[in-house]
Amino acid sequence: MTQDPMRAETDVLVIGSGAAGMYAAIEAARSGCQVLLADRSLIGRGGATVMAQMTVAVALGSETPDHWSHHYDDTLAAGRGLCNEPLAQLLCEEGPACIRAMDDWGVGWARKDGRIAQAMAPGHDRPRCVYVDFLNTGPAVSKTLRTVVNKSGGIRKAGDLCIVDLLRNKGDIVGAAALHLGTGAPVIVSAKATVLATGGLTRLYRRNSASANMGGDGYALALRAGASLVDMEFVQFFPIGHLAPRLIGMDPIMWDPFRYKLGGRLLNNRMEEFTQRYGVAEDGKYVITRDVGSYAILKEVEAGRGSPHGGVYLSFQHCPERALRESFGPVIDRLAANGINLTKMPVEVAPIAHYHMGGIVANTQMQTELPGLFAAGEAVGGANGANRLSGNAITEALVFGRRAGRSAADYVRRSNAAPDHADNTSKAIALIVADAPTRDFNTAEMLQTLQKTMQDNVGALRSEAKIIAALDILGRLAEQLGNSPPGDGNRFDMQRIEWFDLRNMLLVARVVAEAALARTETRGAQQREDYTELSPDWAVSQIARLRGARIELSGGPRTVAVAVL
């Protein structure tokens, strides 16, 4: 197949249209830049933002007096000693301005007596989390930002663009090569600055709480372009993801707001509360942090006290129906349609991959080590250390997105010439339009194997034996995947699209597994069954780079280099 690429030129290319990407686009456009806002799916409907159910942490002081420094202290404590402090400070200090901007744009934060309501969430020293009822925070944030994007002049929107590689001119990033899903054609976007706002990597796990396009592609793009990643072993598992009965039309993290508002009780199969065995007595309140909660549930299941589907029970049977309805209104009807009556039965819950603490190395200007490349939102590593505090993800998306948009605009203003050349354009196009020989693998099945491997072996409970077995499977999958995509290359070629997804996901999965293997301790989201204690030697972050065909891990007590290609 030979096909000339479609071409576009812009000042700022923003990859990803969740909250971080949309805010970056808005700010860059306000600074006078032409922006191209690209997304794998529809604009402003994919990614993690739209899935957020409730809490957004911010020191507004609307409910009780507060100051960003208290939010900062809680963020550092949750991060178990590994937070990048300047990034954490930026998140907490600029959170209030972004939350008020969203309020001005009409997001509709829930109010009590005219003041913005703030809920108490685990790990916070006071009520600090704003939200939109009912379970509508993510959709409201997405919709509000979509409206502002649509009103801003200078933003060109481009859905169905699957970014294949960043374009480099020597060390500088000068745009990206993409596969346009709707036509199958290659696309070359020349940009003076590029913002990666691609979110996290929860799609690497079989049980996850985010969209199908969260496969860590931004991490892979950054690595292949020569940037560094940090803290990649720290994948947050949300302890009480919905497990059973089968529930459709609801996000699996929906029980979080229920616990914020009504407490609820976590029970094993003897209908006993158990979290006190793991150091946290809840007494019907929602106080257990995410790392401890996931650990407690998995250990209870391992001890044979789990629920039928392999989790534990969450019960609101002690709550009067009136309280349930007051707190969740129409959601109670949606549950009834799924055969769930919370006054009569508990539900089953289990840990589910939810957020990635690790990510692209960036400074407080959201600048990566590569000139012309910026990052924003969950794609950025370090602000949340080894464990993210509840409610920090949307705040991070807004604050980092705003900063990335401004920084990219500053960079465009300072740079003189338009990028007219990239070193790797023809290589990227050749890959996108490659003629495929008949291949005997099923990309959808390979993706399931990858997700099962990561869930079982590099999930919330890890050991050397499990991780080594996972690396073996991942290596074989990579070999099978080969160096060029299958499919006919025509419109919406699922095998070809999935091949590009797997190319990214396998690289990122191997970085996560290698970093988890190297860190011989338990800290935050990294729970090692063979190294159960926190080690003072490991109060450091690991940095991952791609050096030729090797993943190199540095910063820990030992430097590790592993061949991957």
């Binding site: 929107k157 696309v187 199908a212 799924n338 025509n490």
Partner: protein
Amino acid sequence: MSESATLKIWRGLDANAGRWESYEVPFEPGQSVLDGLRWIRANRDPALAIRFSCINANACKECMIKLDGKTIYACTARLQPREMTLAPLSNKTLVRDLVTEIAPPAERFVQKRHS
């Protein structure tokens, strides 16, 4: 014997020259039509084109298709142990199989298709 559902699916790149293909998929109560489509991709034919993003939350609104002639979201329509006929939206430009051009014109990289 466990129950199964039969999904009769419209396949093709040309709206005027498609074909119907039937797949038998395992049925468990509570599953969605999208669960069945994803099972077909992983176990029978990875080339089957469907569009979805959020999988289960009905947040992304991408998985709109026709079920027995009615417009539905594949993620919230229940799979049933019978023959179910699935077709692309008839009022949108066909892309492939069950995928149609659903983005508003201002959000498309290619504003007009060259045929």
